[in-house]
């Protein structure tokens, strides 16, 4: 038998994992095979090295850290519902307030719709004209008299809709 075939049994023998009969067989082979003796002693040495290194444990602070994390988590879970509920309640109220603040300004900013009068007019399209007749020549536009209303009539594509815009402000549209 090739010595490679003994490796698995030698590995089990080194850790004391063989039943008495196969262990005795391994011992007989070891007695007459120098190569396997070296292999077995190498296995034992590496196992001893690992076992020695395994005895070194992490510092106590690392154990304490785990303990405190676990206990803190359990304390949180054990808190009565009403003590946890106020946190969720506060968060809900805060969210509603934020939503209200986000929506409210848009109501203030939205300008009121222009007041327009809708009248039924003749079907013929009419250009935009000032209420007063135009002056001859290119003269600077006369300022509206104080208190005099200014009226603009807008004719739309729809012959049934004409928009009148009447401004009572002084010289402003």
């Amino acid at each position: 038998m090739n010595c490679t075939d003994w490796e698995e049994r030698l590995a089990l023998y080194a850790g004391g994992d063989l039943a008495p009969a196969p262990a005795a067989e391994v011992e007989r082979h070891l007695a007459e095979c120098a190569g396997c003796q070296m292999f077995a002693s190498g296995l034992r040495a590496s196992l001893e090295l690992l076992e020695g290194a395994h005895q070194e444990v992490p510092a106590p602070a690392h154990f304490a850290a785990v303990r405190s994390r676990v206990l803190a988590q359990l304390e949180r879970e054990r808190r009565p519902f009403w003590r946890r509920a106020w946190v969720y309640g506060f968060a809900a109220v805060a969210a509603m307030l934020l939503a209200a603040v986000a929506i409210w300004p848009s109501r203030w900013v939205a300008p009121p719709p222009p007041e327009v009068a809708i009248v039924h007019a003749p079907a013929a399209p009419v250009p935009i004209v000032p209420a007063r007749p135009p002056q001859a020549g290119h003269k600077p536009r006369k300022k509206a008299e104080p208190g005099e209303p200014l009226m603009v009539r807008l004719v739309t594509d729809n012959p049934d809709v004409v928009i009148y815009w009447i401004s009572e402000r002084k010289g402003e549209y």
Partner: protein, 189 residues
Amino acid sequence: MSTLTLLAEANGSNVIAAAKAGDLAAFEQLMRQYERMVLVTALRLLGSLHDAQDASQEVFLKLYRNLGKVEASGNISGWLYRVTVNACHDLRRRRPDSVPMEDAGELRSREADPAEQSAEQERRCVLQLSLRMLSEKERAALVLRDLEGLTTEEVARVLGSSEATVRSQISKARVKVKGFVERYFRRHV
């Protein structure tokens, strides 16, 4: 399982009952009793102290939530080993790119002598590197059998495998570790 472990478990049954009744001080006592076992096993399986602490936290939270089952089973060590191996497996899947070697310096040194400290550090390094070479199942089998000292039968129960499978995994792992240790010291001495 050793007689000492069985005795500790017999004394621990009162502590389990108190912890089950909601006594957190009793549960803390229970954690102190098993924290070395859980954290060091997780450290060997994961190779990173930070990950091992996270796994230990999960294990103890599970223990608290399953105190009834654990009390009924009467084998808290076996239950904890099984849950630790599973927690490490899950953590490894979630964090496949952990960097383990930096933790070598985190371990407490029992000797103040710098030469001894250096030798210890080297042994830790060899231990971590050789465990890293193994497959996940080989590593679990070797850690539980050779480092934690469970019997092959107990290892099989913890890992949910047959004894024959565990024996095969252990023998392969031992041969690989031997090869690695010899190569390491040939290169570094």
